[in-house]
Symmetry: C2
DNA sequence: CTGAAAGCGCTTACAG
DNA sequence: CTGAAAGCGCTTACAG
């Protein structure tokens, strides 16, 4: 059997109350007693029971993290940042994955609520189109913060990358390099971040009085055949794009490999810019220019915001919806 | 305030005991009552409190996962596999990272124990050289399973990749391609998996009566300057290796890029084989031959084992220490 | 088939 | 500075 506060109390012939206070460094307890208790606890290999304490204090010292998948390096890094802040606060985190599935998302949220987490950092599944399940969060007074993927119509803090600005900067960079016919290979159409990057693309074209060519924009899903899309877009050498801005580094890399197989030189014939600044950038040849986010900082910011809500601290309006600016990391694929 | 079993009981003018039994589908409760309770629970938006239930039943329905870092694709995939099994069992998991740091590892284990997880899947930090902190796990009767990185001297189940066989197969493959002077760029010397891959390398050389050349073996840490190591190993074209087997795909890719900058052709001058079969393999040029593990299956196996221990079910001796065989995925870097 | 009562391991207002 | 007592939300042996 595990050692409890009561066992320590009996061993020391004092009351459980005193042991509890000593262990929690309560000011009213004498140093003498504290020392004795600490020594005995160590000797008896006492391990605090957070569960019992949580039940009593109605604070579980835990938060939930729900992301589409943990295997994406973006989310993995974000979790890194979140966990740093979480353990600084003496909390622990329960991480769940929705696998981009709506029903899974509902189940996971329910499970987090039953674990009585004090708050949730939430990145909605690409599959999710309705948001009633999130209203239950509000109903249960469980604070939450949207991370990267944001459901409309909630008055909660949000942390996201400024995808619009990222798209804009990527395309502006290509324009400044003298590219005239800039294509866009977009992500899943449902995803807000796909739309924002696309809108940044559009805005840059408009700003520089470029014409928008509809044949040069295609939205894709991860499991699609991208090769065929590239092939089609670049089949006519006289009429093809001279630059390609993609939704992700993965798409950019696939495009580069395909374009090279088609006999094009990168960046001479086609400049390519990706998104994410992943570890792939410095491996593909030529090295890939990419828009960088800062997932770790974003994760930290989301956790900080969540703790402010949990602690009922005031969040200045300008901090409530944070957008993290992106930068274009220029490499050989667009020089 | 959150709705409790008591609230439902009062609303229905029955006892909390009955509500509890109805919610848990106890056989003694009439269908009639069960239906009423279910309806009321839904109407009142009742969310079970796992914390309270856990305190009472002394089962937390949670397990802990402690890995060096979540951002490695190997561990991220393993967690994927673990979580699948964990939620099949109606459990949830608390994921912690040691960041390869010994003291962190101790803290995280303590925290998992205080969360009263029913078991832990554990991958020790590369930093960890002594294992007393793991003895406390045994002292607290918290079952655990070693995953991928195994501490010596514990009678607990283990799941690992057969790194020895992986190293052997990689080198055997190079030998069969006619390579004569096979070098090895190893991982952190402290890590068991580094040693095993190296021993597989040695064993293959011995099996085929190759001489072992000590200048052709270097162990490295992730933060070292690998370029200099490669440069030195390949500085003398007359005396250099004609093949390189590396501890990881990252090392292999770095090597390929460096060797290409040195003017060598891969695989004509040097064949390269990595380890991990990561997403880098099909991006680097030439595409990288690599030894593949199966992290998802390994994660599933570890979780299955842990649940067997938790449930006191018998583990047949041949299942207790599982090694997952590897395969060499042949690509252009060694053709 | 249902209920009253005890208790899981803690914390804390109250009393001294 | 310390203790006795109540209670967090559940489950379950016992009784009927």
């Amino acid at each position: 059997m595990a050692v409890t506060i009561k066992d320590i109390a009996t061993a020391l012939r004092i009351s459980p109350s005193t042991v509890s206070r000593a262990l929690n460094d309560h000011p009213n307890i004498s140093e003498e007693t504290k020392k004795q208790v600490a020594a005995k606890a160590k000797e008896m290999k006492y391990q605090a029971n957070f569960i019992a304490a949580g039940l009593r204090t109605k604070r579980s010292n835990s938060i939930g993290i729900l992301v589409p998948h943990i295997t994406s390096s973006f989310f993995a890094s974000a979790i890194d940042g979140i966990q740093k802040i979480v353990s600084d606060h003496g909390y622990y985190s329960i991480i769940c994955q929705s696998n981009e599935d709506y029903h899974n998302e509902i189940d996971q949220i329910r499970s987090l609520l039953s674990c009585k987490v004090e708050g949730i950092i939430l990145s909605i599944a690409s599959d999710t189109k309705v948001f009633e399940h999130l209203e239950t969060l509000e109903a249960y007074d469980t604070p939450f913060v949207f991370f990267d993927r944001i459901a409309p119509g909630f008055d909660t803090p949000t942390v996201e990358a400024n995808d619009f600005a990222g798209g804009f900067q990527a395309v502006e960079h290509l324009i400044k390099r003298g590219r005239k016919r800039i294509a866009h290979l977009g992500g899943p159409g449902l995803l807000g971040i796909s739309k924002s990057r696309y809108e940044g693309y559009l805005e840059a074209l408009r700003t520089y009085d470029y014409e928008v060519n509809e044949d040069f924009v295609v939205f894709t899903d991860p499991d699609e055949k991208h090769d065929a899309i590239i092939e089609k877009m670049f089949e006519d050498p006289k009429n093809m794009p001279d630059a390609l801005f993609t939704f992700s580094d993965e798409l950019a890399v696939e495009s580069i490999l395909k374009l090279k197989r088609m006999g094009y030189n990168i960046p001479r014939d086609v400049s390519v810019v990706g998104f994410g600044n992943s570890n792939l950038c410095e491996i593909v040849e030529p090295n890939l220019t990419s828009v960088t986010h800062e997932p770790i900082k974003m994760g930290e910011a989301a956790a900080e915001l969540l703790f402010k809500v949990i602690q009922n601290r005031h969040i200045p309006p300008h901090q409530k919806n944070q957008k993290f600016d992106s930068r274009v990391i220029i490499r050989d694929s667009s020089r």
